[in-house]
Symmetry: C2
Subunit: 321 residues, 2 copies
């Protein structure tokens, strides 16, 4: 959440002149999006989000992200839709940064999702997976099994500052999952970061998905495992199986899980917990005292990992067959 | 610029239910307003700004600020207009903080104002002064002549870290202005912080004034002196007399300055420069390494102060009579 780049009036005016969305009426920096500078634009044509991509997003990945939003929008997924400039390009440059304009999406993210939200999320996730079919671009998941060891190396020396013994726990988990990581599962485009703050609801219905900047190609069930982690735990880190059941049922209303996916679910959930534990740990150790952006607690995901380590099967997540 | 307080869904819903502006469609934290948490609200009734007042705004002052916005709006000044809840109150509480909803104002602030902007600003300032007449509430200016010494005391010991000799310069200036501060000038409600980022333009016209959280009762010409400081200097700290002339002319198109105000202008401009020099110095010395909000350079205002110290009269600011 932040605005990292200030945009000069004349630069913005020149940038907007390359689009067909009328004159600028208002621009406000918004506290949304962890990695980029985001602005709410009001022009003669309506409301839009202007994003300036900062260092942590690879410029080479932008055609994948923007192309995916367009592909999904065209297939009925409500997500921000890139606005093309007069030359037909979704990506431009502003204040020295890659920049894009997308449509503004109404909706409110839910801080404490209930069973109904989880059911709707499961269904929307499966619809997104189905809509992703045929998307021609590819992007490897840098934060899956092959990414964990390099991530761990960045935090290894100081991990025990956060919790004594954490470095050993992480090393063992990376080794275990490295040996047993599920292969050959149905793959496709996954969101890979579909936390409650990236899902909008409106009038009791799921109204849209945002923030596709971790989207990539991977096992579809891994996306479900990420959502089980992000949506179905209580604040005390106990798993809420009613919410898990609602999410899996919702998913299966659209796309039925295959037997290997069901068997892989506990391992995928462990991997998902490890991924967020590692990235949060790195951010935690990198944090600046007094900075406005508070890093998220890595140990929340250690507790979730502990749950997954002892899970006996997909049944423990609410799958009843 | 920041969002200091997170608002829980259910709290927000309960808060909005006390208003007659329909259901929530979207809420985004916006990076605006130095001292408060601000959110852009979209509801069935349109776009609004929700502000949660943080520590640095005195709760006792809120009826003054909100009442003033209402008073000015009713008299033709385009500024955010408080939305009253169903009980007729402009001020409520949300997430443990005083909170208010105001109308959303279109417009874009200009980073590098030119002569035309300065002319329009002068005129709008005088219109605001006229519209403020009859406002029944009073608020003393805590950042005028009597406030400078206590402010200086907070920075005195470390002022020379910023520039050797600064503490002595400040002490002398406070003493000099304390002896000669103009009295008996026409008074009224002043904005007291009408920097370019608090003034919106749209399609080449001044479209609105925002951020009245320093507004108070003081000499009207002191407000003009603040604007001369904020709008009419070049980046190299030389005074642009063409812009000054445009601003004063714009002001006088609506309200003619009286002779004592004209004579007091250099002293008022010195005081205004000193006020921002002191508050910026305190913020600079209080700054946290790595924080996202960068404090503004206090020495910009030392350079402006030097200009005012050698000014011979209102003529040096562009007043031609």
């Amino acid at each position: 959440m932040a605005v990292y780049t200030e945009v000069a009036d004349e630069d913005l005016e020149a940038f907007l002149a390359t689009y067909d969305i009328g004159a600028l009426r208002s621009i406000k920096g918004i506290a949304e999006g962890v990695e980029n500078s985001n602005f709410l634009l009001h022009t003669d044509a309506g409301y839009f989000i202007l994003t300036l991509y900062e260092k942590r997003v690879e410029e080479a990945d932008l055609p994948f992200f923007l192309g995916l939003l367009e592909h999904l929008s065209a297939r009925g997924v409500t997500c921000p839709q890139p606005v093309k400039n007069r030359r037909g390009a979704a990506l431009g440059r502003l204040s020295g940064k890659p920049a894009a304009i997308v449509t503004f999406l109404d909706g409110v993210s839910i801080r404490r999702p209930d069973t109904r939200h989880c059911g709707m999320l499961g269904e929307a996730l499966a619809r997104m997976h189905a809509a992703g079919e045929g998307f021609p671009l590819r992007r490897a998941n840098a934060l899956s099994v092959n990414g964990w060891l390099p991530l761990f190396r960045r935090a290894e020396g100081r991990a025990d500052e956060v919790l004594p013994g954490l470095a050993v726990t992480l090393a063992e988990e990376i080794a275990t999952l490295g040996r047993s990581w599920p292969a050959g599962l149905p793959r496709g485009v996954i969101h890979a970061d579909l936390f409650p703050d990236n899902v909008f609801f409106l009038a009791g219905k799921l109204s849209g998905l945002i923030d596709f900047y971790f989207a990539c190609d991977d096992a579809l069930a891994y996306d479900l495992a990420i959502c089980l982690n992000a949506w179905c735990f209580e604040p005390d880190a106990s798993f809420n199986i009613t919410r898990g059941m609602a999410m899996i049922n919702g998913y299966e209303r659209v796309r039925r899980l295959e037997q290997p996916e069901i068997e892989a679910l506990p391992a995928l959930a462990r991997g998902a917990a490890l991924r967020f534990l590692l990235t949060r740990l790195v951010d935690w150790l990198d944090r600046t005292e007094g900075a406005l952006v508070k890093p998220k607690d890595p140990l929340e995901y250690l507790k979730k990992l502990r749950f997954h380590q002892q899970a006996g099967g997909a049944r423990d997540y609410g799958l009843l067959r």
